[in-house]
């Protein structure tokens, strides 16, 4: 371990209300969250240069995160002060004991957590005290198609299967372990099909696995990224793909999917929600912890949360109540007014919200999917 001493290097002690002197914060984003929150952070820094003098941002795919933090913690030199992550990174870190349970002691420094939307609050419970929900959306599962090519979209899981059967190769979802919409579709099916335990992919998903196996007969291809499915939808080589609210709006804003693409829902679906979390690795100095707490408190205010509307990336985005689109930056409002869908408000209000699987169960579901669905192609 490095030589310790002095409050800047103190990692376990009492976290002061304010850092002794302004700190530099290294933020690692493994969830694409900065697209939503960087303006919030920059806003804080510009107003509180006495707390945070400088922020460095780095980004990486989620899976390698654990290895890196572990290596740093094993060596006693942690230089990542704040991680922005999805459920996967969060729960992997919880399992490995990487995160500092900040909320146990200092929950009262974050008044925003009391205003979470019900869905966001549920997501926050997944995090225990190890992370703070900063953005939230109900996600999916939705189906997406071009109305010109699919005039009569399926309205239930059975119809979807029938459509696939009638149009081999036309239905597509990406490999769940590489794709948000892919895994949302997977986790949403047990609700659609009325499986015995939608939270237990090993023992409670009999109908889901049977359905997927049947569907698999008419699926020619499971791309390795959602982007691929979107491209295939746009170029016509796929007709119906799995989607989420964010994946519906944002690609049409970006122009990678035609604006006229439409979404549909399957009868009796439950939302499988999603969120991004802010977590602090163990081993970060108390000074920096103090700065992070101040920063998070700032991010969980309404004005800041409104920035999470973005261009539909995580639609809607804010984790706390009563954040209206009209509070969002003008650019964001314009994009959502053009590409958003008014029906989302009713859909979100009118369908149950479910939290996603925890990391262990999710991994088990991926594994089974890989073996029985994706890997079944080998023997064909």
């Amino acid at each position: 371990a490095p030589d310790s001493g002095g409050s800047a290097l103190d990692t376990d002690g009492e976290v002061p209300a304010k850092p002794g002197k302004a700190v530099t914060l290294n933020i690692l984003d493994v969830a694409g969250n900065l697209q939503l929150t960087q303006p919030m952070i920059d806003d804080f820094v510009s107003k509180n240069s006495g707390v945070i003098s400088k922020v460095t941002y780095s980004k990486s795919p989620a899976p390698e995160l654990v290895g890196k933090v572990k290596a740093q913690q094993n060596a006693g030199r942690v230089d990542i002060d704040l991680v922005l992550t999805g459920v996967d990174g969060l729960s992997a870190g919880i399992e490995q004991g990487l995160w500092n349970p900040l909320l146990t002691k200092y929950g009262d420094r974050l008044p925003g957590v009391r205003d979470y939307l019900p869905g966001a609050a549920a997501m926050q419970r997944l995090a225990g005290d190890s992370g703070v929900t900063v953005t939230y959306y109900p996600s999916g599962p939705l189906i997406e198609f071009l109305p010109a090519k699919v005039p009569n979209p399926p309205r239930s899981a059975a119809e979807l299967l029938a459509y696939a059967k009638a149009n081999p190769g036309a239905v597509q979802y990406a490999r769940p372990s590489n794709s948000g919409p892919g895994r949302t579709f997977l986790m949403g099916l047990p609700y659609l099909l009325g499986d015995s335990d939608p939270k237990d992919p090993v023992n409670g998903w009999a109908k889901t696995w049977a359905y997927l196996a049947e569907l698999n007969k008419y699926v020619t291809l499971y791309p390795s990224s959602t982007g691929e499915t979107m491209k295939n939808l746009a170029n016509g080589s796929a007709k119906i793909i799995a989607s989420t609210t964010g994946w519906d709006i944002n690609p049409r804003v970006l122009g990678t999917v035609p604006k006229e693409a439409a979404i549909g829902t399957l009868e009796g679906f439950h939302w499988v929600t999603d969120a991004h979390y802010a977590v602090v690795p163990k081993g970060v100095s108390t000074d920096k912890q103090a700065a992070v707490l101040l920063l998070l408190a700032h991010m969980l205010t309404k004005e800041q949360q409104a920035k999470a509307y973005d261009k539909g990336y995580f639609y809607p985005g804010p984790a706390i109540k009563d954040v209206d689109l009209s509070m969002a930056p003008a650019e964001s409002q314009a994009a959502i007014n053009e590409f958003g869908r008014p029906e989302y408000t009713a859909l979100i209000a009118g369908n149950p919200l479910e939290v996603p699987l925890g990391s262990k169960d999710l991994v088990a579901a991926f594994d089974r999917w890989d073996r029985e669905i994706g890997g079944a192609k080998v023997s064909k």
Binding site: R77, N178, G227
Partner: protein, 279 residues
């Protein structure tokens, strides 16, 4: 000479040229489809995109603050190439020229880091480097990347060194050249094609090495590939075109490095031979 020209026209030759041309067609298709896409506004079911734009480049450039990343990448690759040659070539020399007890064992030892996927040793390596304060900055990235690079140099260089007539070295020694001078003045120039080949290979591997770089990099020592893998495989929504733009940036940078490398070493020597043919 007439006799030679005839050789060129054999069926075997046609086959070879045919294969080369096919390779080039696929290559051109692969590259240009990415380049075209990276400049396209939207590209659905058509031969060409609907419109043209450079905004994807602007976006990646800003999102990843690519300028410092490019500079770091350059520094890291130059250091790794230089150091791995410095360490690897002398070792390759001894392994190629000398028979001594334990040579095979040593060869195997040098082979291992290339064989083992970084997953096996990446995290403990990063831990060691963090422990001694080498990780989280440029030196860590360089040291970690040297682990597979040094053996790579050794493996590539050994046959090159075997090819050189040892009498030439003896002659240099008789002229009073020390071991170091033999290396710098005689072997190095004769090994230029090999050194160049090895450097290019190491360069490509280093610039493309995600795991070791990510595990040991600090916020200021990320290389381009880290940003690239992020854009490619991180969660979240990203336009295809912006990934294409990143890939084009990555490739252009590699090309520039290649061109730079060829500037420092006379480009004809890439394929030069020591003894020129009579013709």
């Amino acid at each position: 000479m007439a006799a030679r020209r005839r050789i060129v026209a054999t069926p075997a030759a046609w086959l070879v040229w045919g294969a080369v041309i096919a390779f080039f067609i696929v290559l051109a298709g692969v590259i240009s489809s990415v380049v075209v896409s990276s400049f396209g506004t939207r590209w659905f079911d058509t031969w060409l995109p609907a419109g043209w734009t450079t905004r994807w480049y602007g976006q990646s450039w800003e999102e990843f603050t690519l300028l410092p990343v490019l500079i770091v990448t350059l520094e890291v690759s130059a250091l790794v190439v230089g150091l791995s040659l410095l360490i690897g070539v002398p070792a390759a020399y001894v392994l190629a020229r000398r028979a001594f007890p334990g040579r095979q064992l040593l060869y195997l030892l040098f082979l291992l880091p290339i064989l083992m996927p970084p997953i096996t040793y990446g995290i403990p390596l990063a831990t060691v480097l963090y422990k001694y304060g080498f990780a989280g900055n440029l030196s860590g990235v360089v040291l970690a990347n040297l682990v597979p690079s040094v053996p790579f140099v050794i493996l590539t260089m050994t046959p090159f060194i075997e090819q050189i007539d040892p009498a030439v070295e003896r002659a240099a020694r008789m002229c009073g050249a020390s071991t170091r001078q033999v290396f710098v003045r005689i072997l190095a120039p004769l090994l230029v094609p090999g050194i160049l080949a090895a450097s290019i290979l190491v360069l490509v591997r280093t610039v493309g090495m995600f795991e070791l770089t990510f595990l040991t990099a600090g916020p200021d020592s990320q290389t381009l590939v880290v940003a690239l893998y992020y854009s490619m495989s991180a969660a979240g929504i990203r336009a295809q075109q912006s990934i294409d733009a990143m890939a084009v940036i990555y490739t252009s940078m590699m090309l520039i490095l290649l061109v730079l490398a060829l500037r420092f070493v006379n480009p004809t020597q890439l394929v030069a031979r020591v003894r020129e043919d009579g013709d």
